[in-house]
Symmetry: C2
Subunit: 410 residues, 2 copies
């Protein structure tokens, strides 16, 4: 038998299961593929033989449709980064053993840049050990939008739609009382400001409330920040501040460390940055003294299935399908990808890139897309972002509450 | 001419504009009413003559429909509580002067329990001063659901739907990694735990992840809290904690004051409580050491127009319409209200209550609706809540972002 295995890894998104659904749909269509297996908890779960058969769970179209609108990783995830194969033969040996046990000839790993490293390492191990009947490919995802080798990332469009929507709602809130009012909203993004830039879509739409947008890519100057706030309040009495969780000063110190120097680190070595908004709110309170609130969507910006971007979920599905095609065409060590043909009309072309272009790399916001003022973004950024949040997709409701699919652990 | 004036007051909600739309719709139908005026910023705005004509802005059905799906208070709000009329004749005199200027014979004030005090005071002033051609009535609202004299409050159903939806989404998040995991979500509610109880709707729906729900109505014991967490983690490795912002210890000290003793106070004398979740997360980190996050929806739980409860917005509209009827029937000092006839099928009856039953009073969660364990709610609470979150209402989108109505200041 020639079976396929799929797993998810890294931080979850609202669209990562659309990619999984794409994998399942395509695998089902291919005569070259027999059974469809999933591993819980990414590569960590493979090592523990947490393998389940998915054919039964997704026998019906209904189940697949529900999966497509379920946020977070239905197969769970891990933050395990395998050491390079030359230092770690045992683990790789174990993985291949598990693959053999289940007659896995195709493996699709859905994840971000660290997870693509696992695809790279595993592909290398197979190549170096003459294992030419197992094809390992990557399918992208991340709300941070920081993968190289792809125009934009699955999961990002929905997170951007969420952020922009929350911003226009907060504009209505900030407008309510007749007093100087500052709302600071803190976005995820690790080291890239893409998601923070999504606030500009709200600003562009309503043109009603001034925004100050600070991305991680440039040094954050607290004195300038206070000057910017004063200027905005003078002209309009209210301002929304969108800020990346990872803004830092000229010495590279994260602003949020003033809030909690003891930031958690995950197994990929990334700090769990949080609290930037609160530090800035305290600063505004002390220096200016006006009404100010810090809003931290936190996990909600990456699991808001009640406000999916249809563009995002459609592309996420297609990338999952493409990953399966890459497997069947025996193109190991590639990642399903897409390039942008045009902004308007919006058009993309599906393609594949060598994993080396993606693994362990980060794509930050180009500095020329950040306004010279240092507190906004350019028209180029808006044109880039706008198509990604188009289209709505109502999740399923039961008794007034979103209904999701949970894959039984079996 | 006999014109109507409408204004909004207190904390905004996602449905307060549905009530405003109801007022406008009904006023338009009534031959006894000529022009429709709105005051920006509640009674504070009336005193400053911030009066605008609304007939033109809402000439079209389209504009009214857009208003119904716009969150926060389209006429702005205030936190001004008028002193009792016997101490404050000047302000009341000024209000009546403004009413006479615009030939206002009907005034609908949409607000919570403090705002209903203004309706009470103004009605008393009119009665005591022989002003029998101005009818002042109240229309209810609050996400806190703490108004007396009404089964549940406009704005609450949508906020509860938002909370329950966020909870089921966080269940998918908490399920992702294979490590002990605690997510703490902090709800608004000032002194009542109604909104926090909405988490139980999520728990009831999915029955997948254990919940611990702590309402403000009972003393919070941090030692018991840690014991509860340990027990939940033992049985299931993950737990969602829903907690009211205003939980307090046996001495009445708010738990969030450990985070920020310097909590802001608004003009109604209410502390802006926030940070309870963070205090508890720190406690869990110190005492247990597992993965833990504090999520604070903050303002988002009251302006999430992208997830309105249709039941809520329909009722909010009807209460606005009823308030106008009360005006035309000359029933000053009354508040539009509703009682519940049955849970299943869900049925309500529209009525009116004397403002004295509402003004300055608070309706807390009945202690018998809280589970004996102190960390959950009873079936009675679920039956009470369930109908209020039913039905979806897609807001309008433009370029992938919610579109709202902004009343021009003129």
């Amino acid at each position: 038998m020639k079976n396929i295995l799929v797993a998810q890894s890294g931080g979850p998104t609202a669209a990562i299961n659309a990619t999984l659904a794409g994998v399942i749909r395509e695998a089902r269509k291919r005569s070259e593929i027999d059974r469809i297996y999933g591993a819980f908890h990414g590569v960590a779960g493979i090592l523990e033989d947490e393998i389940v058969e998915l054919d039964q769970t997704f026998a019906s179209e209904k189940a697949l449709e529900l999966l497509e609108k379920t946020p977070a990783a239905a197969l769970g995830s891990c933050r395990l980064k395998l050491k390079a194969s030359d230092e770690n033969a045992d683990q790789y040996g174990k993985i291949i053993e598990i693959f053999r046990k289940y007659e896995i000839h195709y493996f699709v790993y859905i994840g971000g840049n660290d997870s693509m490293d696992t695809v790279l390492q595993l592909s290398k191990y197979c190549a170096e050990n003459g294992i030419d009947d197992i094809c390992v490919v990557g399918a992208p995802k991340t709300i941070d939008n920081d993968l190289c080798g792809i125009d934009h990332c699955p999961g990002f469009g929905s997170a951007a739609k969420y952020i922009a929507s929350v911003c226009v709602e907060l504009e209505r809130e900030i407008d309510v009382y007749d007093v100087p009012n500052v709302i600071i909203i803190e976005m995820m993004g690790r080291h890239a400001g893409w998601l923070t830039a999504a606030a500009a879509l709200a600003q562009e739409q309503s043109r009603d409330v001034p925004y100050l947008i600070y991305l991680e890519e440039i040094v954050f100057d607290t004195k300038k920040f206070i000057r910017d706030i004063r200027a905005a309040l003078e002209s309009s009495n209210r301002v929304i501040v969108a800020v990346s969780e990872g803004i830092h000063d000229a010495d590279g110190h994260f602003i949020c460390e003033a809030c909690d120097p003891d930031q958690e680190t995950d197994a990929f070595g990334h700090k769990q940055l949080a609290g930037t908004g609160r530090v800035l709110a305290r600063l505004v309170k002390d220096e200016i003294g006006c009404k100010v609130r810090a809003i931290e969507p936190n996990l909600m910006q990456r699991c808001a299935a009640h406000i999916l971007s249809r563009t995002d979920t459609e592309e996420s599905k297609k990338l999952g399908q493409l990953a399966v095609s890459l497997c069947v065409e025996h193109r190991p060590g590639m990642m399903a990808s897409l390039t942008r043909v045009s902004d308007e009309p919006y058009e993309v072309r599906y393609t594949a890139v060598p994993i080396e272009e993606v693994a362990n790399k980060e794509k930050k916001v180009p500095l020329e897309w950040i306004a010279e003022s240092g507190n906004g973004v350019t028209e180029k950024m808006i044109s880039y972002l706008r198509p990604l949040v188009q289209g709505e997709l109502l999740c399923e409701y039961e008794n007034g509450i979103p209904k999701f699919l949970v894959i039984p652990k079996q």
